[in-house]
Amino acid sequence: MHRSLDLLLSALFNARDIWRLPVDGSLHGALLDRHLLLNLWIILGLAALAHLLLLAGVLFARDRRAGTESISRTVRLEYLPLAFFTLLFSWLTLRAERLWALSRYTGAEPTALQVEVTGMQFAWYFRYPGQDATFGRVEPALLDPGAGNPLGIDPADSHGKDDLVSSELVLPAGREVDLRLRALDVIHGFAVPEMRVKQNAVPGQTIHLHFTPTRPGTYAILCTQLCGLGHYRMNANLRVLSASDFEHWLHVRESRGTT
């Protein structure tokens, strides 16, 4: 039963072109996509069925009097379908909650790559902790984009010396990443459609988001929470590299940073 359902669902995967989903480049994306497509087909089916009933009911006439209700008719036409809907929606919710719990109830693995994401009007900045694996202190008062310190890293903190700040997010494929989302000014929405993740960055809060990119390529990072007049062009690239390419990139950036 479950096997055949899987088979059916995988057949519907090719339907991605119909639904115009972007490619999925993350580990959890496959399950999410499958659940999404399952939902979409179910509601498409229900919508079609309801409209067929609507049209049939209007077009095929019968005695008006036959429409009057009795208890058995109410049960048949109202409560039985309702019971069915309750089961259907409960099943979908249960499936969805399992996925939600998988991605949100627990934090990232201890081995996950740490990156801090900071949103500000109207750019994303990505900070890697560097060799010491610790992020340096940031101080809002020290913010100075003109002097190359857009995040306000405190020069007095030794942890901050080797921090890498990048305007693109570069990640190795196959390794989990633990993002710490922050916002400096207003609420921003961190969204990567190809990674099937979205989470608002809220000023005053640090919010963790973790996922595993699997597929090398260049993807779009968008802002999905209205943040001001430049909202539409607040974006960045996510470059997923192979593990060795990433190591190389990190090395190059770090040597550039220290020299």
Partner: protein
């Protein structure tokens, strides 16, 4: 390859999680939500009850 930055995890995450939602704040949110919903429900139900009185 995992060496470069795998040690940041341990303490930072618990601290950040705590920063995001300390237990007291969670509790306060819960109280506040229950208060809002409870009063709204109370008012709604009393409207219904008042309605029943005025048949």
């Amino acid at each position: 390859m995992l060496s470069t930055s795998s040690y940041a995890q341990g303490c930072t995450q618990c601290r950040d999680n705590a920063a995001a939602t300390p237990i007291a704040t969670q509790h306060a949110y819960r109280t506040a939500i229950l208060l809002l919903v409870g009063v709204a429900f109370g008012i709604g139900s009393s409207v219904v009850l008042v309605g029943r009185r005025f048949r």
